[in-house]
Symmetry: C2
Subunit: 533 residues, 2 copies
Amino acid sequence: MTVEERPDPTVGEMHPQRWGDPAAAAPLSEAARGLVELAFGLEQRPPVAAPELPPPALGADLLDGLRALVGADHVHTDDATRRLRTRGKSTPDLLRARSGDLADAPDAVVRPDGPAQVAAVLAYAVERHFAVVPFGGGTSVTGGLAARREGYAGLVSLDLVRMKRLLALDETSMTATLEPGLRGPEAEQLLARHGLTLGHYPQSFEHATIGGFAATRSSGQASAGYGRFDAMVVGLTVATPRGPLVLGSAPAGAAGPDLRQLLLGSEGTLGVITSVTVRVRRAPTASAYEGWRWRSFADGVAAMRTLAQAGLLPTVLRLGDETETAINLAEPGAIGAAAGGAGGCLMVTGYEGEPATVRARRVAVTAVLEGLGGTPLGEEPGRSWRAGRFAAPYLRDAMLDVGVLVETLETATFWSRAPAVYDAVRSALTASLGEPTMVLCHVSHVYETGCSLYFTVATRQGERPVERWLAAKAAASDALLAAGATITHHHAVGTDHVPWLARELGPVGVGILRAVKAELDPTGILNPGVLVP
Amino acid sequence: MTVEERPDPTVGEMHPQRWGDPAAAAPLSEAARGLVELAFGLEQRPPVAAPELPPPALGADLLDGLRALVGADHVHTDDATRRLRTRGKSTPDLLRARSGDLADAPDAVVRPDGPAQVAAVLAYAVERHFAVVPFGGGTSVTGGLAARREGYAGLVSLDLVRMKRLLALDETSMTATLEPGLRGPEAEQLLARHGLTLGHYPQSFEHATIGGFAATRSSGQASAGYGRFDAMVVGLTVATPRGPLVLGSAPAGAAGPDLRQLLLGSEGTLGVITSVTVRVRRAPTASAYEGWRWRSFADGVAAMRTLAQAGLLPTVLRLGDETETAINLAEPGAIGAAAGGAGGCLMVTGYEGEPATVRARRVAVTAVLEGLGGTPLGEEPGRSWRAGRFAAPYLRDAMLDVGVLVETLETATFWSRAPAVYDAVRSALTASLGEPTMVLCHVSHVYETGCSLYFTVATRQGERPVERWLAAKAAASDALLAAGATITHHHAVGTDHVPWLARELGPVGVGILRAVKAELDPTGILNPGVLVP
């Protein structure tokens, strides 16, 4: 069925120096403030107000050319709009923005509507040799929006905000075709009108977009039940400088390499995703979330592995290590308060679906977890986690305000390597950052053969916090690669991870990426410096 | 854990003009013979005995060079060995071989042992510009072994028969690293020693190899329970003319495009797969197979869709259409005998696993199928299907012997398009082949969003059977592409499907394949003419 539906408006733009909805920002709770003071001391570090932008570099005729392609109302060069399209939301991004450095601002923000306008802008970019950075939600935490601009006539943020339609719905095949500019809640809103859901809830859900989910191989908090975003995609249309690419005539097949899997994760460097056809599910009519305590992280991880290898997963399955559990990061609003008080490691299990399915799955999972020595904590910890599931980035802003550097990094590996990867990353971070440093970890995505490891780090900002963090991140990245893990499970490559991607893929793998890039984007206008080593 | 285990010998070489184990060949049963006589008439068409081969084209010095690389005992130019490495096992392949045409025979069969020898042969192929055709089980049905030889010094069959080791086993992560030359039963034998299974049972299982499964994106009869082969692969090592490629440091990730998915399905055109790391499972300790009757194919397909979308699949799930059910193709040994006698469509459901899992899954699936109006037929039809699951290709030989052309083709599409694809392919085949023609169909691989459709065609050989079949196949391929399906769900591209692959991918997609090919195999020595348009 072809439809053409648009969502009602949801959240607005993010603050240029903070995460998320400016109205949702809040100072630290008393308990958290106490914890921070004890661990790191308090030092007020408010952001510089309304930092200056470099003047736009694009000439008037080039801007006129862009206006002719997308309409005069959809080419923006004002500071406010450009400021909101500058870099992403990693801690280095925020620290730079907070210190007043918005040097990476785009020269213009251009808003095409539909694949023809996207293609026209790309053709014009080739003709005039300006760089194009596709922009969805602006939530990159790996420098995915900080393209190189040397050698280009300028840098244009290709903002997909006008492309927010549900284009087609096939309730027999259970697929929906979505435009790339739809944010998570907008896509869910459109699907909910038909009783459907995508079930993709990354922490960036409220701001990130369908196009970004696909371009970065996003993975959501309910990945145990709904799968990674790349596993939901059955079709893609992509505008490339070589022309349009339309992929996906069957759920799976043997018609050569699966080129969908080459465009998924391409981070705007090979083309601009103009629509994504995703598998959808019936919206759940029941849910249950609960907590479990494990004596140790190793015990909890073993339980997750048992569930994954038995094909018996809840919809949400996550486990904090001893440190993360102790400071109660699963519940950002109550951080510093005791997490049930008994030590060990907190696991959250969540079930979504039909009432009968939720019940049956919960009974089966409960039997396994009890058999393995887990202690059920009832629904409260699950409910709390769920209520705060998108809140951690706001907490980071509040910590940055009082002089604490908070950042995350993540990886995935096979089960047998996970303990060594865990140790190696923690050691590298603490060795690089020095005391006082806290390293927290949780597992939130599992597979039959392995799992993700997600680390949260807190240390004093001190002098040169960006440089100190980048050194620590490099040490952690070296360590995890050496231990046999991937440089990223769901944060993508951006500019930050490029050197480690090159090592992970080796010279022949890098050669493949470069060859595909040269084929689809021969003049290199798409996100230069991102992804491709 | 690093291991180095080899299997005990299993089945021998296939007959050069027939499928499978020569000892397993059998004439038609009386019932089948009667059916064939009624439908098509009988006409003895025995194969030409020991057909002539063209003389090997490679010079003595080049052969000496190969001997220096892999050992003198592992370079073969005798007729018997070359004959067994000529083409694959499509009906046109067999008809040509039966008529005495072995013009596509390789000039030499070279058997490297290990990635270093494979790399050395590739380097030598670049230096001397001969074509290299990787050879596993020789079961291609799409011309995957019929590489182009014009412009090359000769054509070498790179037979991976010496590479049959289980290289590593990780029982924590449940992965095994297998060499490419292991046949299906050999791989299962090695895994069974550790209580494990791969669970991959394509019809070619007894002869096809691990490397071939990966290179062609094979899908097995138990795909509902164990998944497609490409979904089992977590790591690959590949020898390319540019050097080695090592992929897979985590089950899944966001480190750019998934290059594993570019090498899976690459059919020996981008490199030679030298090892495959696959997810394994505990060997099942219980199984149950049974039959169901559906009033119509549409009803049965709707039931399969319901199961797939409910996440409630048996290990094996297949459904014949009315014609396939009527002639009892699910049980090749009893073809022509009544299939339970009541018309409609036969579904086979099979369950494998722990006894409790088998029981619970069977109860749940049974409830759904009964609720949808399926009639349970008990275990006999399931047992019969299972007993004959690898037998159909032998039946084809027996049919070819009596003048009937039998061939298969397959596709996949989304559920909503399946009825139109089904109709379009049947119409195209019957219109092209004329009466008497029988077209049978079954669904044997399902996904949440769609399914495969597998057609079996029988018609008189008559004059010029190869040309008549190729015209019919072209008409069917045109029709299925027009109806929105893929040119192949699990038979791969080979040389036969290249023109349709080009249409399916479009010019930009073809450009990607060509660019990757040019990068990894710049002089085009690997399987020229296969896959890449």
